[in-house]
């Protein structure tokens, strides 16, 4: 009894000093999250009064809500969160996990705090966040969302007329966007096997010279480097042009055509090593096909989406990233190619079989992309 009296006194005094001088407020809830990698964690503050008026939490109906009674509503509150808060990445619903309810005292009164942990399939960049709790009961209800990531913070207010928020982790951070897109560029060239094989096909004979239709003499390092620079520069220049044109919607070609032509470019480049047709101005061939590869990069970039407000910087970052990715490939493969080009085996066997293998794979891609069928599921 004494304990209850003391608790009652504390509660009363808390209300006096902390809350009762608070005027009636319009209903609001708050979601605060911290984003890191694929996860956002934080919690949802919901007013105890709002819960009582909308879904009823005072189960015994005595108008006094104890902590024990509130704890019994754990599953109800969890289901409210899962029904009314949706976080979508691309087309996939991120998994929403909840913790045990807690209590909090905000300026507007007592709030239930439900810990949230949202797991998305990929590293979080862009999300669609949907919230529709209480609007059908209180049209003036608002939810204040705060997401912290990379030392920046974003706030938005959900209301009856605004129930969706498009979150972009990079929207307020230009430098972060720049760095992020450099990495995206590097990553996309590394995982884009077709781009790598196109480049590799062009580099395979970089240390050789063609005489009467046959590859057989070793070039000097200087000439090899000049050849490589020409090829890489032409590729860079070409794909930078079409990438920018496509990202800013100045050029639009169906991805089926683009992807098919990219496969065709790999076929042409690799077969050209076996039966050389173009060898003097290989950079020109590279440039023409580079234009198409740029459109391919653009489709990747369009999927990721440029951060609003720093589109130009992000595009520059992406291009730099693609170049760095390319240079890394060149840095690894060129010394090997140069070293191997000493041997007869490379000139008469390896170049041909390697190019033929690349061509074979590219033919499969070409068929897949033209006919829209899957033949090889592993590439």
């Amino acid at each position: 009894m004494t304990l209850k009296l003391l608790q009652g006194t504390v509660f009363f005094m808390t209300m006096v000093f902390c809350g009762l001088c608070q005027a009636h407020q319009s209903s609001h809830s708050q979601i605060s999250l911290k984003q890191s990698g694929k996860v956002m964690s934080g919690g949802w503050h919901i007013s105890v009064d709002d819960l009582e008026r909308s879904v009823g939490v005072d189960t015994n109906g005595d108008s006094i809500l104890s902590w024990g009674e509130l704890m019994q509503q754990q599953s109800l509150i969890e289901s409210l969160a899962k029904t009314h808060i949706k976080v979508i990445q691309g087309q996939t619903l991120c998994e929403l996990g909840t913790g045990n309810v807690m209590l909090d005292k905000l300026a507007a009164g007592f709030y239930v705090y439900l810990p949230l942990e949202i797991h998305c399939p990929k590293i979080i960049r862009k999300l669609n966040i949907k919230y529709d709790f209480l609007f059908s009961f209180d049209a003036q209800h608002k939810m204040i969302l705060n997401i912290e990531s990379n030392d920046s913070s974003q706030n938005t207010v959900f209301s009856n007329n605004s129930r969706v928020f498009e979150y972009d982790s990079l929207i307020n951070n230009k430098f972060q966007a720049f760095l992020e897109f450099i990495w995206q560029g590097v990553w996309h060239i590394w995982i884009g096997l077709d781009h790598i094989l196109f480049l590799l096909s062009l580099l395979l004979p970089a240390a050789l010279i063609l005489r009467q239709g046959v590859w057989y003499e070793k070039q000097t390092i200087k000439i090899t480097l000049i050849n490589t620079t020409k090829i890489v520069t032409a590729f860079t220049l070409a794909h930078s042009i079409t990438l920018a044109l496509s990202v800013f919607d100045l050029v639009s070609i169906s991805s089926r055509i683009v992807e098919s032509v990219i496969a065709a470019s790999v076929i042409v480049a690799s077969l050209n090593n076996i039966k050389p047709i173009i060898h003097r101005r290989l950079w020109l061939l590279t440039f023409v096909f580079g234009l198409i590869h740029g459109l391919g990069f653009a489709s990747v970039l369009n999927d990721v989406g440029l951060p609003a407000g720093s589109e130009g910087l992000a595009l520059l970052g992406f291009n730099i990233g693609v170049e760095l990715g390319q240079l890394a490939i060149v840095a690894v493969t060129l010394p090997i190619i140069y070293w191997l080009s000493h041997s007869n085996f490379y000139r008469t066997r390896l170049l041909q079989t390697g190019s033929l293998s690349i061509a074979a794979l590219a033919i499969v891609w070409f068929v897949e992309r033209v006919a829209q069928v899957e033949i090889l599921s592993w590439v």
């Binding site: 608790q7 504390v10 001088c21 608070q22 005027a23 902590w67 300026a107 059908s136 209800h141």
Partner: protein
């Protein structure tokens, strides 16, 4: 020794309170009381009616009864959530073109309450075009136009109340507008006579009339007369927040802080009254001042976060009178005057402007100099502004 015990207890409670204010926590005991709900009787009636409405959603009589109960509760308790409940209930019905006129008027009332004046006017204009017999249509339009400083339109709507509303309501409306267009004394006399003759009038209408009368006396510098009429109004309803706020302003002007504290002590849950209470408490050096200030500040911050612009006049006054942040007060008062141009809005803007150190760099809006309604305070302030 008793005071030492009380002091120790107070410190203990404050410590616990600060703990409770901090972060999410798990209460020690399941028996700890989280909340004591006060459920007004009307809410119980509403819940029953809502259940009936679920079965017969087309029963507009039930719908209107619920809406009236919500709006009345919202006004009586000064709790904006009831307006939100009414809006959410009405919203799906508003897609239906054949609603009863009273239902549509309730919708306009909700819109007006949340300061969506253009949307409210759009609905009211349609009703007026169809020669609606409902006085609320014209009264609401008059009030919106008046708050925007459009006296000609306001007066036209007041005149439309003739034959549609009581004599007292019509004269109150007309006198209020005319008092702002160079006819303060004659409007005061007309309304005073009308009130004296309307013994059997509706109490709410009478209170409204008395408030307008007292406001006119204030603008005329007749503070004793104003006080008498405010007190008459409060006698009829001691919990009318509008008249309480205006009367408290009169007392604040006379520096009767103790009187204000006594008058408003029990109304801490009404933001507008809490502001007056805070001003009085802080001016008279009361300890509780700080708590009121924290509560108000958090409330204004929440309003800002919600994107609300309904009580900007009070926000500006808070920063002017309590926080002494003239720059912020001036910015908010200017923002407020874009939408609200009532005498109180204009006077507050001028008061802040006169205290604003950078006033030369941040001029008053041009329309302020055209606000020539009779008001001794306004006249004096405009004179000072022109001097500077």
């Amino acid at each position: 020794m008793n005071w030492i015990k009380q002091w120790v207890l107070l410190m203990l409670v404050l410590l616990l309170t600060d703990y409770a204010c901090a972060n999410p926590y798990v209460p020690v005991s399941e028996d700890e009381i989280v909340s004591v709900f006060y459920t007004p009787e009307e809410l119980k009636t509403i819940n029953k009616l809502r259940k009936k409405l679920e079965i017969t959603p087309g029963d507009y009589e039930i719908l209107n009864r619920i809406i009236v109960l919500y709006l009345t509760l919202g006004r009586e308790k000064s709790d904006p959530r009831y307006f939100g409940y009414a809006e959410a209930l009405l919203e799906p019905y508003m897609k239906n073109g054949n609603l009863p006129e009273t239902t549509v008027i309730h919708w306009a009332d909700i819109l007006q309450h949340r300061h969506s004046f253009d949307e409210a006017l759009q609905i009211l204009n349609k009703l007026a075009l169809n020669e609606s017999s409902q006085p609320q249509v014209y009264l609401m339009r008059a009030i919106i136009h008046l708050s925007r400083g459009d006296y000609a339109r306001a007066l036209n709507n007041c005149k439309s109340l003739i034959s549609r509303a009581s004599n007292l309501l019509t004269i109150s409306c007309v006198a209020q507008v005319k008092s702002l267009t160079g006819k303060l004394q004659s409007s005061f006399d007309l309304l005073e006579q009308t009130i004296k003759r309307s013994h059997d009038s509706d109490i709410e209408e009478r209170i409204w009339g008395l408030t307008i009368l007292a406001d006119m006396a204030m603008r005329n510098g007749d503070y004793a007369i104003a006080e008498a009429y405010y007190l008459q109004g409060l006698k009829l309803n001691s919990k009318d927040y509008y008249i309480l706020a205006n009367y408290a302003d009169l007392l604040l002007q006379k520096k009767q802080y103790k009187h204000v504290i006594l008058l408003l002590n029990e109304f801490v849950f009404v933001d507008s009254l809490l502001l007056r209470l805070a001003i009085a408490s802080c001016q008279s050096g009361k300890l509780i001042c700080e708590k009121y200030v924290v509560a108000l500040e958090s409330s204004y911050q929440l309003s800002d976060a919600r994107g609300e612009k309904t009580h900007l006049r009070d926000h500006a006054r808070f920063y002017f009178k309590i926080k002494n942040n003239i720059k912020k007060a001036y910015y908010i008062a200017k923002q407020n005057s874009n939408n609200q141009k009532e005498p109180a809005d204009v006077k507050l803007l001028l008061k802040i402007y006169l205290e604003y150190p950078d006033r030369k760099a941040d001029a008053l809006p041009e329309w302020v100099f055209r606000s020539l309604f009779e008001d001794i305070e306004l006249t004096e302030m405009l004179r000072r502004v022109k001097k500077t």
